[in-house]
Symmetry: C2
Subunit: 218 residues, 2 copies
Amino acid sequence: MAIPRAAKTQRRTRIQEEKEEQILEAALDVFSVSGFRGSTIDQIAEVAGMSKPNLLYYFRTKEAMHRALIDRVLFTWLEPLRAFNAQGNPESEIRGYIRRKLEMARDFPRESRLFANEVLQGAPHIEDELKGPLKELVDEKAEVIRTWAKAGKIVKCDPYHLIFSIWSTTQHYADFDVQVRAVLGQGQSGEGRFEDAARFLEQLFVDGLSVRAKQPAS
Amino acid sequence: MAIPRAAKTQRRTRIQEEKEEQILEAALDVFSVSGFRGSTIDQIAEVAGMSKPNLLYYFRTKEAMHRALIDRVLFTWLEPLRAFNAQGNPESEIRGYIRRKLEMARDFPRESRLFANEVLQGAPHIEDELKGPLKELVDEKAEVIRTWAKAGKIVKCDPYHLIFSIWSTTQHYADFDVQVRAVLGQGQSGEGRFEDAARFLEQLFVDGLSVRAKQPAS
DNA sequence: GGATAATTTGACCGACTGGTAAACATTACA
DNA sequence: TGTAATGTTTACCAGTCGGTCAAATTATCC
């Protein structure tokens, strides 16, 4: 009898490990483009090169595949914000955060789009994660930024909206990639656009928010 | 015989006008949440309070409904950018553009999400519009910004990425509304968040990019 | 090599999908 | 008021959906 699905002895066989990886890879391809409702198990099966019942042997439902993907992505997606260091230099911390987020948009666009699709459609599967772990992490880092501002190390601004704007500007290059390419045209659509973006965002956020280049009140 | 669907005499009856409006309103509700593939005609019919065949009497296919919506939204969505005036004062033009975009995110979030869903999923229905009219408009306005920078009225920066960052930061409040609310928590989730966002974005873009508050090279 | 467990598949199910046909109801207008 | 055009609905269709099942195949371990 076959019951497994990562049950019984907790230990997963080599095949289980490989196949689950293979399935999640395919699921990421499909979910990141069509969202949960718009994706079908058949599509994922075809991309994964396996039969549909075989997918359902490893993940009981379509929702279980999505869930597994989301959990994995959510964790790595917050890594850059977690690395945000209160003891560091404000300017280089912000610069580093932007750089890392932009690199993730470049190197893991599917993960970004999966997340964007989910939030865009009302986050029906991850509302708890947003209100819990995410909010706590942002609250913590916002406090750091506020402290820097109070100490005069950085211009005074709303830390939450600062974080939102860093999220949106960087993820834009993954989520709205088609639009960015269309507007930039054939010329600048190579990977050079990420370097241009990095330069611009650094100028906008770092130069714009650092205190040293500013007068107290114009 | 019934053939109409806005054919024959071009002139649309009162009923046609009303019903088509009613359908598009419902379609916007549904498409903006689930995207094209994830939405069903039955859902739209239920929201519209009409029978499915009745919808299909006014719009032959699901695609036709989507098309009609996209066309309408695309036009109004670009209005703020079109209003961007080369003769105006750079600072107030940018400020005004941000304000208008933010107001649209607040007042027409469904339209923003419809568009975001479409682009996110690879823009299969609007690629031509992006590469044509949109690109031309952006090219034109980018040239304006570049001129301002050359004349020293504004800090030198990549005009395309400036426009991208205004798009992304403002639309973020419509597209990622659930996330924004979750992070801000019960307290700041009222409409006040748009005022806070406006204040922050103005600070970031206007103060950050204006020349007068900056030293030439720190 | 054989028993046992793990894996894979084809056939299938009921619910739902986009869309059609044709009968029925309503409106506009002479 | 009659009638032709317009608008609406019920019943239906073929294809797809998520998911099940039992049989077949393969890996594992003694």
